[in-house]
């Protein structure tokens, strides 16, 4: 059963445009120039219960707007949206009790009070039984390592600490659908890793549906086997992450390490041109058809200490994908 269903979603904004300067400001007082921005333009997709999906696209592509429509904050210009079978526009209580939108840039934690007060507030408004609340909170505190944080005023926590507490506050009522908008933004590498593994564990244990936007490709690679790519409001890809990589950058990167120095001429003769090379290592970009023969030749003729085969970095894959889409008529 689809947890999230979106049919021909369109969301337009009217945006006031004004050039700089006092005269322009005065003129705009009497006559405003309004432009229509097509933030989301005829987007359709379904997400099955319990699955994790990445929502990718450049800034201003329409990702956050779509999440806000799904969470009931924005009303669509047209199209049909259903989350857990309900229309988010009317904000039914049953739906609000079953979903959560977490954004890395806006917080629900009460700024002047310790996070535990926000947890207590959410326990009351989401009507979580005390026994369940205590158990869930204990588990969240352990998994996210919050013991020392939840009784300090929120304003005195670091960004990473606040983000962990945000996640805990968002999950007190065990939502079945999680919309995560840049949940690891501004976090250091180890904190990103903790948050990522926590989200995966939460989704697996609760069979929770996750729709995630992130500019960190590690988030996407670690969490979401399926991705939706949106660009200028239009959905341009919906499928497995591996398919996106294969379609956009079919070449593999092969890194060779040598046990003794290799002459550049010999390297060129055996493998063809390298992307980068030194006496002790070389990086080759090879297509699927020639890779097997090239690697076999290298193993036979070069002092190979180690080698690894990788897909192109996801950042590059996406950059290529968007560049190709922009070039299309």
């Amino acid at each position: 059963m689809a947890s999230v269903s979106v049919e021909h979603l369109v969301k337009h904004y009217l945006v006031h445009q004004r050039p700089p300067g006092i005269l322009a400001a005065l003129r705009s007082t009497f006559r405003r120039k309004l432009d229509t921005v097509r933030a989301v333009d005829d987007v359709s997709f379904n997400i099955e219960e319990g699955s994790r999906v990445g929502f990718l696209g450049p800034n201003g592509a329409g990702k956050t707007t779509t999440l806000k429509v799904l969470a009931g904050l924005l009303h669509p210009t047209s199209g049909e949206v259903r989350v857990l079978g309900m229309d988010p526009r009317s904000r039914p209580v049953d739906l609000l009790r079953s979903i959560m939108l977490v954004t890395g840039q806006k917080q629900q934690l009460l700024w002047d009070l310790p996070p535990v007060e926000t947890f207590e507030l959410n326990r009351a408004v989401y009507d979580v039984a005390r026994i369940d609340y205590t158990r869930t909170l204990d588990e969240l505190v352990t998994l996210l390592r919050l013991e020392d944080l939840i009784r300090k005023p929120t304003r005195q926590l670091s960004l990473g600490e606040r983000m962990k507490c945000e996640l805990a506050a968002a999950l007190i009522h065990s939502p079945k659908v999680l919309f995560l908008d840049e949940p690891t933004i501004g976090l250091d590498v180890s904190m990103q890793s903790i948050v990522r593994s926590f989200i995966r564990s939460y989704s697996d244990r609760h069979c929770a549906t996750v729709l995630l936007t992130s500019h960190y490709m590690e988030d996407v690679a670690a969490l979401t086997p399926r991705v939706l790519v949106i660009d200028r409001g239009k959905l341009t890809f919906d499928g497995a992450l591996s398919d996106l990589v294969r379609r956009t950058r079919p070449d593999k990167l092969v890194t060779l390490s040598f046990s003794s120095p290799v002459d550049p001429a010999l390297l060129a003769e055996v493998t063809g041109p390298a992307m980068e090379s030194s006496p002790f290592h070389a990086v080759l970009q090879l297509d699927g058809a020639t890779m097997k023969d090239t690697v076999a030749r290298a193993l036979a003729r070069l002092p190979i200490l180690d080698f690894k085969v990788e897909d192109a970095p996801l950042e590059e894959v996406l950059a290529d994908f968007f560049a190709k889409k922009s070039a299309e008529p």
Partner: protein, 278 residues
């Protein structure tokens, strides 16, 4: 996390509602205490009735002005100060900021109507205001102008409901104007207009009885006297029981009317909400 989906807490609707209200009130009180210095400044800034008291007492020092002698002015403005401190609200500013910067989204995500949360946030500050300011005002009132207060218990009962009604009109009018921020980006200008009319027609600057009769009659038709002058005059026994009960009915009709209006504007405005930021 073993529970796949948490069970609701098996309490009845009323008990659950009471629990939500109690938690919201406790947390709103904690927030009010967190801002205690700012709060004290706000209370001290609500000093207009004291300025008016000094001004009008001096005017009436030699002879009564209209029906008001010096003692009557003292009683009027001290009661005005007490009612003002108990009925003050600030939700229109809160709504305008939250609509503009998108913080309103966090309220909309929760399964509790934001109007209820705003109401509790505002009411939770009342006890703190009362603790800080009421004893001083009450002692001065009782020592200087006790004879001006009504001795009719029915009027005191009406006055208690009228103070609540005054808060209700101020709060729901602010909700209605604040909700217009969903259409206009900012509705503070309209609130400023409301507040300028309130200043003149609520009895804040001078007792409404000092208006010429024709103007007084027109002013009585507006909601402004019910936000301040009505409970003040009731406490001072300036009205009969029958007029007080009629006034109470009108006051609550205004309060509920503004609430219906605010809900209608809010509902239509949410369609336009842009949820900027984040």
């Amino acid at each position: 996390m073993t529970a796949l989906a948490l069970e609701p807490s098996r309490r009845g609707g009323a008990a659950r509602f009471a629990g939500v209200v109690a938690t919201l009130a406790r947390i709103a009180f904690a927030v009010a205490v967190a801002y205690r210095s700012q709060f004290l400044v706000w209370i001290l800034a609500t000093n207009t009735p004291l300025v008016m008291l000094a001004l009008w007492s001096s005017v009436a020092s030699e002879a009564p002005f209209g029906q008001f002698g010096q003692r009557a002015f003292v009683a009027y403005f001290l009661v005005t100060l007490i009612v003002r401190l108990l009925t003050g609200t600030w939700v229109v500013w809160e709504m305008n900021i939250e609509i503009k910067d998108g913080t309103l989204s966090q309220r909309l995500l929760r399964p509790v109507h934001p109007f209820l949360v705003y109401a509790i946030d505002n009411l939770a500050a009342v006890p703190l205001r009362a603790i800080v300011s009421l004893p001083v005002a009450a002692v001065v009132l009782l020592t200087v102008a006790r004879s001006e207060l009504t001795r009719d218990p029915v009027l005191w009962l009406v006055a208690a409901l009228a103070v609540l009604g005054a808060w209700l009109i101020s709060f729901t009018a602010m909700l209605a104007i604040g909700s217009l921020g969903l259409f206009w980006e900012s509705s503070i200008g309209l609130w400023d207009l409301w507040f300028s009319l309130y200043f003149v027609f609520s009895g804040y600057l001078f007792p409404l009885a000092l208006f010429p009769e024709a103007i007084h009659r027109w002013v009585s038709l507006s909601p402004f006297p019910y936000t301040l002058a009505f409970p003040v005059e009731t406490m001072l026994g300036m009205t009969s029981r029958a007029d007080a009960l009629e006034g109470l009915a009108k006051q609550w009709a205004y309060g509920l009317g503004f609430l219906v209006l605010a809900l209608a504007i809010w509902r239509r405005g949410l369609v336009r909400y842009a949820a900027y930021g984040g």
